[in-house]
């Protein structure tokens, strides 16, 4: 699997790493399919889902004529009509609440929250109804809703546009939380989220929207001919890079940073494994634990402020499952416990390659 380095907004990838990646890309150029952006993969997934089922409807703010502020729904209103992809009044609770009602009445709504922090007005509907309806009705009502959230930092966004809000949702029983990190997963996991009968909060790392990857998108799409393919992403972490000395556990926007750190560490002679969780809920404890038992050392990487977060949960679970295999305490590289900073300060906040490497250095190697 290739992970692009568009995530190097932090400017922390060493020049050597960048050159190596470039060279590899050039060599591969001739034989590989055209590059696909993360945004295009999402757009294609939405179009294919609209095509596959009349029950799928898209709505949100500016997603119709404009195609969304990130253009993820570009062209869908034109192609499928306003009854399938439309703008709502500016009211996030209204969007989520209407989605719940539509789901009660047989639809599969896919809603867009314009930015991470603008989803907060919808939290009551999401927490009190979308997450609980299936349980409340003992399974009589399913909530096949996807709440797409462009999220996290790395784009120099101003306040309210860069929050890593996944911990709130992951903490809420009844919600599935997806966080794709690669272009192929963007397609695969969005299709899977739309097919899911459970509500899915779908985190799209903004800094990856324009990242590219070379793979045969049409071949991937063809896997969906005649229904969802048997292979699932939900609850199935992948080993994004194999290694033997330590494990970096990451998801969404942090995977590319972790990959760059692993690459840099390799140059220093350290073999780092990178686990891409893909879905935070459900969590693939088994893959994470197997990796950490193998390497004996682990660092969790996430942009979210670390206190009481997905990162803390991961550390606790690794400790519970891998205690006797651990050569060092499990550490974390997360955002600081501060409000997401202004653009000029975000590089100090975001987990960087250097900070990850420094933390890996702290894993008691000398012994």
């Amino acid at each position: 699997m290739t992970v692009t380095t568009s995530s190097d907004a932090n400017g922390n990838v060493s020049a050597a790493t960048a050159r190596a990646t470039e060279r590899a890309a050039e060599n591969a150029e001739a034989s590989q399919p055209q590059p696909v952006t993360f945004a295009k993969a999402l757009n294609t997934a939405l179009a294919d889902a609209l095509e596959a089922s009349d029950d799928v409807v898209l709505f949100g703010e500016d997603i119709g004529t404009l195609g969304g502020v990130f253009r993820i729904t570009d062209g869908l209103t034109d192609r499928f009509g306003e009854h399938r992809c439309f703008d709502t009044p500016l009211a996030e609770s209204g969007i989520a609440g209407m989605a719940a009602g539509m789901a009660m009445n047989g639809m599969r709504p896919v809603v867009e929250m314009q930015f991470d922090a603008f989803a907060y007005p919808a939290l009551e509907q999401i927490f009190s109804h979308i997450a609980k309806m299936h349980n409340r009705t003992r399974g009589a009502l399913k909530m096949p809703i996807v709440i797409r959230i462009p999220y996290a930092g790395g784009i120099g966004g101003v306040e309210h546009h860069c929050d890593s809000s996944e911990s709130y949702y992951a903490h809420t029983p009844g919600l599935k939380v997806y966080a794709p990190a690669t272009v192929a997963d963007a397609y695969r996991m969005l299709r899977e989220a739309i097919d899911s009968d459970d509500p899915v909060v779908f985190f799209e790392p903004k800094k990856l929207y324009w990242s590219k990857d070379r793979f045969d998108l049409d071949a991937l799409r063809a896997e969906y001919d005649g229904g969802a393919p048997a292979s699932r992403s939900e609850g199935k972490a992948v080993i994004a890079r194999e290694g033997t000395d330590a494990t970096l556990v990451a998801y969404g926007p942090s995977v590319s940073t972790a990959m760059a750190a692993a690459e840099a560490a390799a140059e220093e002679g350290r073999s780092i494994e990178v686990v891409d969780l893909r879905t935070i809920v459900p969590l693939d404890d088994a893959t994470v634990a197997a990796s950490v038992r193998k390497t004996g050392r682990a660092v969790v990487v996430a942009e979210t402020p670390g206190f009481a977060s997905v990162a803390s949960e991961l550390v606790a679970r690794i400790q519970e499952r891998c205690f006797h295999s651990l050569a060092a305490p499990v550490l974390r590289v997360t955002g600081f416990d501060v409000p997401f900073p202004a653009p000029k300060l975000e590089e100090f906040f975001l987990p960087s390659v250097d900070r990850i490497l420094d933390t890996v250095d702290e894993l008691q190697w000398e012994a």
Partner: protein, 403 residues
């Protein structure tokens, strides 16, 4: 699929045309169509006599024909049963058989009308206070009371009955009603949705969002507000400075109407017209019913801390049940035999509630994990196994102890 019209101007024309068309249907101006009439629509006076038509609160374009006698007898039966349900449930709470019961005593006319105005495929979105409406729509009383007995957060299948689970987070359910109506409209079905809330709840943000969404998407939703004067302890004057709650409709481009919430005849007339309009594509509408919460907010509340007994006494005289009984007797629709039959039906309902609530249904602790997702996650299965193991060990210890 054709490209939708682009730009503000094209959309503006579409918007104006919609209201014009509806107002034209009644031969009145858009303003007169949207605004409620000067007073509440009230057909029966407090003694149960028909008021002169000129005093019924109607206005041109806001006319309400008198509902039929047989129909009213059935409604009266539901009213009497509803009153019995309220009083039986309050008694069951006092006896410790139910965790809580927000009674609609005094509001039964609203409860009954909300259910009876709807067709079989229409949906209702009730609140915690609307148990009588839920039962009147045909849901088994014991299934309805499951929530209040404390067995589970909901006791019936909303899809089967087309009734949402009685909602506690204020006005959140209105948006679910909007969503159900929107889905139906997209599929070309003529479903109508009646979404309910209280007076205090109209201050919530979701009230605004729901009304606005319904109006913008032109959905067949009737927002039915039972203004019972209080939100727990807080009187309506603390919630709004609007001339009435029905007036709120006009800001959304929606018609509003006020109705005497203790006059079942007027309620049926107003709500049925609203349902008809909504079904014919003229929705949404807002109906405010003026009524009174005769008892405390719930059994846990002490209403003497915030209101005078004299006020309660005043409303006693406006009781919806006695008023309806007097009217139907004067019309010779209700005779002693019918009254006896109806009392029996009410008693049968009370017995059913007592039997149901006195039955101890042991909860299954494993249910905790069954419905969180469509399939339990690995983590939930681990937690379930742990609980099962813990229970098995407890059971073993108990057996040991009794040996």
């Amino acid at each position: 699929m054709g490209t939708p019209p682009i730009g503000a101007e094209a959309r503006e024309e579409e918007r104006a045309a919609y209201l014009d068309e509806t107002a034209r249907k009644f031969g009145i101006s858009v303003e007169d169509y949207l605004l409620p009439t000067d007073g509440s629509i009230r057909i029966l006076d407090e003694t149960g006599a028909i008021r002169p038509v000129a005093e019924q609160g109607t206005a041109p374009g806001h006319e309400y024909p008198l509902p039929e006698g047989d129909d009213l007898l059935a409604a009266y039966e539901a009213l009497v049963v509803g009153r019995r349900v309220n009083d039986q449930n309050s008694a069951l709470v006092r006896q410790g058989r139910m965790a809580v019961y927000p009674s609609s005593h005094g509001q039964e006319a609203c409860q009954v009308a909300a259910a009876l105005c709807l067709g079989e495929d229409d949906w209702m979105f009730p609140t915690y206070r609307d148990s009588v409406a839920v039962m009147t729509k045909g849901i088994d009383p014991v299934e309805t009371m499951t929530l209040f007995r404390g067995d589970w957060h909901g006791g019936y299948d909303p899809k089967k009955y087309k009734v949402g689970i009685q909602s506690t987070p204020l006005t959140t359910q209105l948006l679910h009603g909007v969503g159900v109506a929107h889905a139906a409209k997209l599929r070309g079905e003529d479903t109508v949705v009646l979404a309910m809330c209280g007076d205090g709840a109209t201050s919530e943000g979701d009230f605004h969002e729901a009304l606005n969404f319904a109006a913008v998407f032109k959905l067949p939703v009737i927002f039915f507000v039972q203004n019972n004067q209080y939100a727990i302890s807080v009187p309506l004057a603390h919630q709004t400075a609007a001339p009435s709650l029905a007036h709120k409709a006009v800001g959304y481009g929606m018609a509003g109407e006020r109705v005497d919430g203790n006059d079942l005849v007027a309620l049926l007339a107003v709500l049925r017209r609203a349902v008809r309009l909504a079904r014919d594509g003229h929705g949404p509408l807002l109906v405010e019913a003026h009524t009174y919460r005769m008892q405390a907010h719930t059994n846990a509340d002490d209403a003497t801390r915030y209101r005078q007994d004299a006020e309660v006494q005043e409303w006693m005289a406006k009781d919806p049940v006695t008023r309806m009984r007097a009217y139907l007797q004067s019309e010779s629709v209700l005779d002693d035999a019918a009254e006896a039959r109806i009392s029996e039906a009410a008693e049968a309902m009370a017995t059913r509630l007592r039997d149901g609530m006195n039955e101890d249904v042991a909860p299954d602790p494993e249910d905790l994990f069954r419905f969180v997702f469509t399939e339990p996650t690995t983590q939930l299965n681990e937690q379930r196994a742990r609980l099962v193991d813990e229970l098995a060990r407890d059971a073993a210890t108990d057996t040991e102890a009794t040996r």
